[in-house]
């Protein structure tokens, strides 16, 4: 599977016109074609594609993701140490934790908000609560994220100076004490985390609401109510668990997004995450980085899907029994 993915992405990347020597800096009349040829030889870009793929596979066999063409040959995946003890961090090593943290926080906030909202909407179906939640969700869903980001950056950062506008840390971060460091990080993370949560809220709320509505019309809920259970128990013990099952699938499907990050959000907020890394690498035709991200991304996605399946089995006894029967 991974070999298939890597072969396809390798071919697509190399079918795109241009290579690392055709960037805008190279379009300077002071530069010479010989030097670009030299670079191509240095990176084996003058060899046939299939040979290049072979070289890449050979390195991959030893888990060596190679070095970036475009950023002073930084390692693509994990740090290396040279003979003088200088540690060079890997590009993915630096970007992945940032993206993961932001997206997991965002997902957590989405879920924390979406589940109660969905429950309220289902309980007060067609009431004013439901209508206003639907309206709010529609707004959140339709507003372009980058536009909302810029507006909030302007209002919270420029007009009111409540939140930092971009970046991950303040300039004096190093000299802060631990508590201030945490506050500093949180305030920098606030906007980039909250905006995708608002725009992502709509889908999940709708899912919870519909799941809830389905379940509330099941016979066993009527039974539960008939036997005089209080409403709280009906909703939270009997209905909610069943209504949340489809959510596992949704979360499973969102895993590639959690790893991939978003180019637009990361660019606007100046966050050095995976989305920006990948986008820049494609524009620079930085093949090792593109390949590294695709390979690691697909591996993590496969693992994520596996985890989602396992969680499904854990949450739903019916699935478990199906597995046991084989």
């Amino acid at each position: 599977m991974l070999i298939g993915i890597s072969l396809i992405s390798f071919l697509i990347m190399h079918l795109a016109p241009g290579d690392v020597t055709s960037n805008e800096a190279a379009f300077n009349p002071k530069t010479s074609e010989e030097s670009r040829q030299k670079l191509r030889e240095m990176y084996n870009l003058d060899k046939p594609i299939i040979v290049q793929y072979g070289l890449w596979l050979k390195r991959m066999a030893t888990m060596d993701f190679g070095k970036s063409f475009a950023s002073h040959q930084k390692p693509v995946f994990w740090q290396t140490t040279d003979k003088d003890g200088n540690v060079t961090k890997g590009l993915i090593q630096e970007a992945l934790p940032i993206t993961l943290m932001i997206n997991l926080l965002g997902l957590a906030i989405t879920l924390i908000l979406a589940i109660p909202l969905g429950i309220i909407a289902a309980r007060r179906y067609l009431g004013w609560q439901d209508r206003s939640i639907t309206l709010f969700n529609f707004l959140g869903f339709s507003i372009p994220g980058f536009w909302l980001s810029l507006l909030l950056m302007y209002w919270l950062g420029v007009v009111n100076n409540w939140f930092p506008i971009s970046g991950l840390h303040s300039l004096n971060y190093e000299s802060l004490d631990t508590w201030s460091k945490i506050k500093d990080s949180l305030s920098h993370l606030f906007l980039p985390v909250i905006i995708p949560s608002i725009t992502g809220l709509a889908g999940i709320t709708l899912f919870v609401k519909n799941g809830m509505l389905d379940v509330l019309h099941q016979d066993y809920i009527t039974t539960a109510r008939a036997k005089g259970l209080n409403e709280r128990k009906v909703i939270y013990t009997h209905a909610l668990r069943n209504a949340l099952l489809p959510l596992i699938t949704i979360i499973g499907l969102s895993i590639p997004g959690l790893i991939g990050g978003s180019v637009i959000a990361e660019t606007i907020f100046a966050i050095p995450g995976m989305g920006k890394l990948f986008y820049d690498a494609v524009l620079m035709r930085d093949f090792p980085v593109v390949m590294g991200i695709l390979t690691i991304g697909s591996a993590l996605t496969l693992i994520g899907n596996l985890l989602a399946d396992v969680m499904y089995a854990w949450a739903d006894p019916r699935v478990r029994r199906g597995v046991a029967k084989g």
Binding site: K30, E34, H72, L113, L150, K183, L186
Partner: protein
């Protein structure tokens, strides 16, 4: 049950408010807004200047990195042998003096005595020799190597003398030595320049040294005590990496950065419309060494016909492009040199907008509208072509204005905008285009052999429009051999005249570089001298009362 749902909402809102409060507390204080930035303050050293750029440098050895993000930073860290003064004349940087031999083939550089690297090791001619060897080395893929490969012999007769000999006189040589940043031999000998850790922790000789580099966030530079040209006034330079232009502008408005490059809309519409911004920001404009042009593929018919090229030149209203696309922040040019410098020929005037003349010229070259569809034909084929450009808003807009003006004289134009790398490999390298809208960013030396000489047409070389004019070839060759500035100037004036007459490209506009700098920064020359506002950045200063108070170290 409403109890429970409402308690959920309560919980959520409490969490939110607390996050909000938490964050508000940590926001930094800007100096109060009642400071008078326009007052005069005495010159004093200290303070921090925060600027931003859109891309992170790949490394800080500029001969390897090659991109502008890198050279912006290294220009504060490394010296070259020579530099340009405010009027764009060469003067010594690391060298005290230089002399050119009688046969114009040898240049002797005399280093200033007692120079030191930031790590206290002496700077000698051995470092210069090492740098030259590094840039010309087989294993180094420096984009700028070609100028230095012309050096036949480089010697260091003593620790302060460096001499180079060329096969024949090479006039752009001095400019090339003003562009090569000298690297320390003692730290780089035996290392691979493409992978060395030095590129992330450089040791240089200029006003500043690198303190820290936080990946994708910021680079901090502080004053170098050993600076070979004396001390700069501002203590610390911080460059933040903010890829998005709008975010940068918000940071500028919020007073978190002091300096940023602007586009015409921000410069002439957004900032002037806001008194609170005008109160704290000063706007500067300077002519860059670059221009936008529309270039013909001279190997394709009918662009091989000079009458057709001139006709199109007359048919395009350049002032309209300057006013519409650049909001008036550009000038119309007639030669490929920065106006106001010695190399630009003051006797030349741009082609005026004259559609009648354009129609007459087109008719003369055989184009007529025979079927009444509004499009001219020759030999039964309509005059139609495609303008290809990269995804650059200004260029796309210019192409649209051109499209309309050419339609008026009966030429059918289509526009295609394409991503840069694809653009270069699919259209430029293969020569498979009719017309391009592009720009040239040029060096300060007038030599443009690589762009116009007929020998420079191979794939990947820069005469991709296929210009071939023996007169121009000869002038370009002469210009390279002539080291006397006045004689050289005449050669390039003549070259620009022939070029304008021949019209292989149409100059659209030379845009201004636009910058906003916070008024707390004093000592900036306005209006900008030919070398631009940055030429004396070491003398800029930030008076104590105007400094930010959040950064204390």
């Amino acid at each position: 049950m409403t109890n429970l749902t409402s308690s959920f909402i309560k919980l959520a809102s409490i969490t939110f408010v607390s996050i909000l409060l938490l964050a508000c507390e940590s926001s930094t204080d800007a100096p109060s807004s009642n400071l008078d930035y326009s007052k005069n303050y005495p010159v004093e050293s200290g303070g921090t200047l925060v600027s931003a750029m859109t891309a992170e440098p790949s490394g800080l050895i500029s001969m390897i990195a090659g991109e502008s993000a890198s050279s912006e930073i290294t220009a504060n860290i490394f010296n070259s042998l020579l530099k340009y003064d405010k009027n764009l004349e060469l003067e010594g940087d690391l060298v005290k003096s230089w002399e050119i031999s009688a046969d114009q083939k040898t240049i002797n550089f005399k280093l200033r005595p007692n120079l030191k690297w930031a790590d206290n090791k002496p700077i000698t001619s051995a470092d210069v020799l090492f740098t030259w060897q590094a840039v010309t080395d087989e294993k180094t893929a420096s984009p700028y190597a070609s100028d230095f490969q012309l050096v036949k012999k480089a010697e260091t007769p003593d620790a302060l003398t460096f001499s180079v000999t060329y096969d024949q006189a090479y006039a752009p040589a001095l400019d090339s030595w003003a562009g090569l940043q000298i690297l320390p031999k003692h730290l780089l000998e035996g290392q691979d320049l493409h992978t060395t850790a030095f590129a992330r922790k450089p040791v240089g000789s200029h006003y500043y040294k690198l303190d820290s580099w936080t990946h994708s966030e910021h680079l901090k530079l502080s004053r170098n005590a050993n600076s070979v040209l004396g001390q700069a006034r501002i203590d610390q330079l911080i460059t933040r990496i903010i890829p998005d232009n709008s975010a940068q502008f918000l940071e500028l408005m919020a007073d978190n950065i002091d300096l940023m490059g602007l586009d015409p809309i921000k410069y002439s519409r957004i900032i002037p419309a806001r008194p609170e911004l005008l109160q704290k920001l000063a706007l500067y404009k300077e002519l860059g060494n670059s221009y936008t042009y529309m270039g013909f593929n001279l190997k394709h018919k009918p662009f091989d016909d000079v009458r057709v090229r001139r006709a199109i030149n007359y048919a395009i209203d350049k002032q309209e492009i300057i006013d519409g696309v650049y909001l008036g922040l550009g000038i119309n040019i007639a030669s490929p040199y920065k106006p106001g410098t010695r190399w630009s020929n003051p006797a030349l005037t741009p082609y005026p907008y004259n559609p009648a003349k354009a129609r007459a010229l087109l008719k003369e070259s055989g184009f007529e509208d025979n079927n009444g569809d509004g499009i001219l034909e020759r030999d039964g084929k309509p005059f139609a072509f495609e303008i290809v450009t990269n995804q650059n808003k200004e260029r796309e807009k210019s192409a649209v204005l051109i499209q309309r003006r050419l339609k008026e004289v009966g030429i059918d134009v289509k526009i295609r905008a394409i991503e840069w790398a694809s653009f270069i490999s699919r259209f430029i390298k293969t020569g498979d285009f009719d017309v391009v809208v592009l720009g040239w960013g040029l060096g300060l030396d007038p030599d443009q052999y690589n762009i116009w000489h007929s020998s420079q047409q191979a794939p990947g070389q820069f005469n991709f429009i296929g210009y071939n004019n023996p007169t121009v070839d000869k002038l370009l060759e002469q210009g390279r051999l002539e080291l006397n500035s006045d004689k050289r100037m005449k050669i390039y004036h003549e070259f620009a005249r022939v070029l304008l007459e021949d019209s292989p490209i149409i100059y659209l506009s030379a845009g201004y570089g636009l910058t906003a700098i916070h008024k707390r920064v004093k000592g900036i020359d306005n209006p900008a001298p030919p070398a631009g506002i940055g030429h004396n950045s070491q003398d800029w200063y930030i008076p104590q009362p105007l400094r930010r108070n959040e950064i204390s170290q």
